[in-house]
């Protein structure tokens, strides 16, 4: 098509449709840019900054920045890897992330990014803040200890489920996900089939009665790094 524009990611030329974000164009080209709050079915949000790339030598969120012809994007450099791993480490110390007994372990995007970006241990001190667990709903529970405030549940409920079950309250360190009810999660109209439940990248919102259903070794990120599906597009395109 003639209306395609061209730009480069790490020096490699990539084609994009005008109006696409850097991340959308990169995904299509089979170039994986790490992300947490971004989700293919949701509008760009630009909250977690894990998808930070250098655009013409300035840091930008790849999920919100539109492509323009001739722009130079840097993604896989040591400087940017360090920015990304710092963000992941801050999320690990701010919540209480006990991977050894979390049901989401092996399928968790936060954990998978730690693996992909080479985190062995966070360099920051653990905060061990107290967070609540709400298990009032018959089919779903929310563990705020594991919440990374990516807003995927907030946005999924609004954009995909048409419900507005979740919203943020508080600011800074006190910010948390709250529910559209006077009491608890059980009193909302959330359903176990909602996209808001499915799209949680971590073990914060989980379905009850599932547990550790997939054995170790067969979980999503046990043998393949996160982003392998996107990178496979490049392999098949050639």
């Amino acid at each position: 098509m003639s209306d395609k524009i061209k730009f480069t990611i790490d020096g490699v030329e990539v084609e994009a449709t005008p109006g696409q974000t850097i991340m959308q164009a990169a995904d299509e080209a089979g170039v994986y840019i790490p992300r947490l709050c971004a989700h293919k079915d949701l509008l760009p949000f630009g909250s977690c900054r894990v998808c930070t790339v250098m655009v013409n030598d300035r840091p930008q969120a790849a999920c919100t920045q539109p492509v323009s012809a001739g722009m130079s994007v840097e993604s896989e450099t040591e400087e940017i890897r360090q920015i990304r791993v710092n963000l992941i480490e801050m999320l690990f110390v701010e919540g209480n992330h006990y991977c050894p007994f979390c049901e989401k372990s092996g399928n968790c995007e936060l954990q998978a990014l730690g693996y992909r970006l080479g985190m062995l241990a966070p360099k920051y001190p653990y905060m061990f803040n107290k967070h609540d667990v709400d298990a009032s709903h018959p089919d779903i529970y929310i563990d705020h200890n594991r919440c990374i405030l990516c807003a995927r549940c907030v946005r999924s409920s609004k954009e995909l489920d048409g419900k507005n079950v979740f919203q943020f309250v508080g600011r800074g360190i006190h910010k948390k996900v709250a529910f559209n009810s006077d009491t608890n999660l059980g009193a909302t109209d959330v359903s176990v089939t909602d996209k808001a439940i499915e799209n949680c990248p971590v073990g914060a919102i989980l379905k009850k009665g599932v547990g550790y259903s997939v054995p170790i070794g067969k979980r999503m990120y046990d043998t393949q790094p996160i982003g392998s599906d996107i990178e496979a597009r490049k392999a098949t395109a050639k």
């Binding site: 006990y98 050894p100 372990s105 241990a121 107290k130 170790i216």
Partner: protein, 181 residues
């Protein structure tokens, strides 16, 4: 030439990481050719007999004795490694970190549903190590040189890391070896 020495300790851990070390199977024969074990539960040596090249620490610090032991290891080991999630972030014992210590002790010794304690005392003998306000990751107590995550870290990870250290070579690990669970 004398073989380099290795020391190991289990602080606030479950000995699962030590089990994983034994899980290197027949490579353990190669390991005893490569190194001598010093202070360790493996050989039950209680005090360092000399300077050690590598110290492997399982578990975080939940009491005074853990802290002293960890400092003792730091003084006697050239390279100190946090092995497993408990050493790295406190692990399961650190679940008490969001609950005040008094509440934890009351639940364990006074109010728990299966507690039988007619004296109503919470153990406080001088022989017992003083419990800390919370469980600390090892690197928040002394300088740790490396971290090997996992619950437990796989035998392959422990083996590759030890061999790389002893042979002074960089580690080249396959993706699936590093896990946090």
């Amino acid at each position: 030439m004398a073989k380099p020495k290795i020391a190991t300790a289990s602080l606030a851990g479950c000995f699962g990481c030590h089990m994983s070390l034994l899980d290197i199977d027949d490579r353990i024969l190669t390991l005893v050719d490569l190194v001598d074990f010093d202070k360790s539960p493996v050989d039950d040596i209680k005090k360092f007999t000399g300077r050690c090249a590598v110290g492997l620490i399982e578990g975080g610090c939940c009491n005074e004795e853990n802290v002293h032991n960890l400092q003792y290891f730091r003084e006697n080991c050239d390279i100190l490694i946090s092995v497993g999630e408990c050493a790295i972030m406190g692990g399961i014992p650190a679940m008490r970190n969001t609950i005040p210590l008094k509440e934890c002790l009351d639940e364990a010794y006074l109010n728990g549903p299966t507690v039988y304690n007619p004296s109503g005392n919470i153990p406080g003998d001088k022989e017992l190590p003083l419990i800390l306000d919370k469980v600390y990751p090892c690197h928040e107590v002394v300088k740790m040189d490396y971290h090997l995550p996992g619950c437990p870290p796989s035998a392959d990870l422990l083996w590759e890391a030890l061999v790389a250290l002893l042979e002074n070579k960089p580690m080249d690990l396959p993706y699936e070896v590093i896990k946090y669970d």
